[in-house]
């Protein structure tokens, strides 16, 4: 649809507030041949239990229903893999369901668990996600991922999903980036930042100390994207426990309010019709009137440059949490940096910057933990985990990992979870000598965006410290 009814624009009204109680992650890597998926899942569950000083058995006592995010059955060649995991976690005969929304699977899994708690169906729900992308060689993996595009109209074209996205990147590059060398360098900066933050994260698969030049000299994937502009293919698991207020405070002293929403758009970008830009609370109806003048070719919305699904998810989530201006109201974000350029597109879709001006979020230094120009804390640090470029993209686990990372900052426990020598050792990774504490000081509210491919599904999850709720929430 290209016009929305009042009913469709309703800000979701949940029956009761939902809290994030705890979360945990496994190690993430390109391949983990020595472990079955269930072992990774249990690794993440154990971390979640330990985080709130509970034994796995104690934590399990609270769980009433389970939501499992696992995108690609094809990779592991096991249908109903969710049932295998559910049994290995010893959670039968509780109700469980598998969730698949491509790259947004992790976020969607939280969305489902959230609704289960908010509705009163469960006092406590488990959202667990995983992926194992190491069980076919990369070529076949690319074919499988391309099978998440339209099998009749797109997949036969090269069997390469990156290509279906790259046409969007090209359009954004030419229209909004104006093919400027400076814009290309801004894109590279995102990769440098995220690979660099990954160095401080023991879970992360691809920590790298690199420069803009390294990114610009890495192999071309599809102009203007290069290898270091692209996300990883990963193996790993992550989980969160959501609960209602009473149960959450039984389990921990410090649960966080959680709001979750979702949007969608056509699987084929081809099918996207021209429409008016739906506005976020910090935008005005006339601010985009001259968009096509300022950026010739940029007047078709969402065209091949905007992710309407992200905009809709943000619209709902901001309404639910009372967010007016994400840069002012949030303290950090984890965004779905599948590609450096899609990261910039998302800044605009979710209102961190207006359409056409996404690059300034990077160029101002606002997106850094410490603004490189001022030496002061960044206004809205992004992807301190390393994101999909530096940490991982174990599809079903990604959106959940992002939420845990944001939460650890609000809990003030980021350093504890990332500095731990024992963890670095257990993951067989070397903690860098210049390891830096990336804890966002005084973080109270954060956001995670989970996103599928060319934008078919996007979820927004907002975390808020209960003492710092915003006025005007839905």
């Amino acid at each position: 649809m290209i016009k929305f009814s009042k009913q469709q624009l309703k800000i979701p009204q949940m029956s009761k507030p939902v809290y994030l109680v705890t979360g945990g992650m496994s190690k993430f890597d390109r391949a983990i041949p020595e472990k079955r998926t269930e072992e990774l899942v249990i690794d993440s569950f154990l971390e979640a239990a330990e985080f709130i000083n509970k034994s796995p058995e104690e934590l399990k006592q609270y769980i009433h229903s389970c939501y499992y995010g696992h995108f690609a059955d094809h990779f592991g060649d096991q249908l109903l893999g969710e049932a295998v995991i559910h049994d290995r976690l010893g959670l039968d005969p509780l109700g469980n369901v598998g969730i698949k929304t491509g790259g947004a699977t992790g976020g969607s899994t939280i969305w489902e668990a959230y609704k289960a708690v908010a509705s009163g169906y469960s006092d406590t729900a488990l959202a667990m996600g995983w992926e194992r992308m190491d069980e076919v060689p990369t070529d076949e993996g690319n074919h499988y991922i391309a099978s998440a595009a339209d099998k009749d109209w797109e997949t036969p074209l090269g069997h390469i999903y990156t290509g279906y996205y790259a046409v969007m990147a090209q359009k954004y590059w030419q229209v909004f980036g104006k093919e400027e060398e400076s814009f290309r360098r801004t894109l590279a900066e995102i990769a440098v930042k995220n690979k660099g933050y990954a160095r401080m994260n023991p879970h992360a698969q691809s920590p790298m100390k690199i420069t803009v030049e390294d990114v610009l000299n890495s192999p071309i994937v599809a102009h203007p994207l290069r290898a270091l502009d692209c996300c990883l293919m990963s193996v790993g698991a992550s989980c969160v426990i959501l609960a209602d207020e009473k149960t959450a405070y039984e389990m921990t002293d410090n649960p966080l309010l959680l709001y979750s929403s979702a949007g969608s758009h056509t699987l084929r970008v081809a099918d996207r019709r021209d429409m008016a830009i739906p506005l976020l609370p910090n935008e005005s109806p006339d601010q985009y009137k001259d968009l096509g003048v300022r950026f010739p070719g940029g007047d078709r919305y969402p065209g091949f440059t905007g992710f309407l699904a992200a905009r809709m998810a943000a619209y709902y989530a901001y309404g639910m949490a009372g967010i007016v201006d994400p840069t002012e109201d949030l303290d950090l974000v984890e965004l779905h940096d599948a590609f450096t350029i899609s990261d910039i597109q998302t800044y605009e879709d979710i209102g961190i910057r207006p359409y056409g001006e996404g690059r300034s979020y990077v160029e101002s230094g606002d997106c850094y933990h410490t603004n490189p120009f001022t030496g002061q804390p960044g206004k809205l640090p992004a992807n301190l985990s390393g994101g999909l470029i530096g940490c991982m993209h174990a599809v079903g686990a990604t959106g959940i990992m992002q939420v845990i990372e944001v939460a650890q900052h609000i809990w003030g426990r980021w350093s504890e979870m990332h500095a731990d020598e024992a963890k670095w050792k257990r993951f067989n990774r070397v903690k860098p000598d210049d390891w830096t504490d990336l804890q966002v000081k005084g973080a109270k509210r954060g956001l995670a965006i989970s996103h599928a491919g060319v934008g078919s599904h996007v979820t927004a999850t907002v975390l808020v410290h209960p003492d710092h709720q915003l006025k005007g929430r839905g």
Partner: protein
């Protein structure tokens, strides 16, 4: 291991009738580390699926007749009445009435231009396109949507005029039967099997 007599399918009296082999079995092989420890196995799979085109079949059939078919909402009560779609949509996305077929071949020959594109050396398993591949997303005057395809000749640019070519000599009855070349390309230069 033989892969002869690969499966084919016919429909008779509304039922699939299959002949030949739809799968071939290969033995598993162990996966070991340097020390010889068993870590897993390979699971070979070679299997053919059956796939129904349903209401989209005319589109794929007509590529082999050098025709590019789209559809149009023909419901005057629909808010987006008259919208033209390619990819071919069987039903209008708004009113869900069955769309009317429209022949877009002439429009495409006169007025198609590249909305965006990409060039890559990377492909996935089963790719049959020559590398580097060049995707073009083609927009047509008066059409609501933008069709993805591949450019067979020349280097793509945003705004460039392109015309469709069709694999009419040895059609595969897939989207691969449709490709694009710059307007003004001569028939002699077309890839093997393709005509305007």
């Amino acid at each position: 291991m033989t892969t002869q007599n690969r499966g084919t399918v016919k429909v008779e009296n509304g039922r699939y009738r299959v002949t030949g082999n739809f799968h071939y079995a290969y033995p598993n092989e162990p996966i070991r580390d340097e020390s010889g420890k068993l870590l897993g196995i390979t699971n070979p799979a070679d299997m053919t699926h059956i796939h129904a085109y349903g209401g989209e079949a005319p589109f794929f059939e007509n590529l082999s007749n050098a025709k590019l078919l789209g559809t149009k909402c023909a419901n005057p009560k629909c808010e987006t009445y008259g919208s033209v779609y390619i990819p071919y949509r069987i039903h209008c996305p708004d009113c869900l009435m069955r769309n009317e077929e429209v022949d877009l071949t002439e429009l495409a020959r006169k007025g198609a231009s590249v909305h965006t594109f990409m060039i890559t050396e990377r492909t996935g398993a089963f790719n049959t396109l020559e590398k580097p591949i060049r995707f073009v997303n083609v927009e047509f005057e008066g059409v609501s949507t933008i069709l993805m395809g591949y450019l067979s000749i020349g280097e793509p640019e945003i705004g460039m005029k392109v015309v469709p070519i069709f694999q009419t000599k040895k059609p595969t009855f897939t989207i691969m039967d449709l490709s694009w070349v710059p307007a003004g390309t001569s028939a002699a230069d077309l890839p093997e099997g393709f005509t305007f």
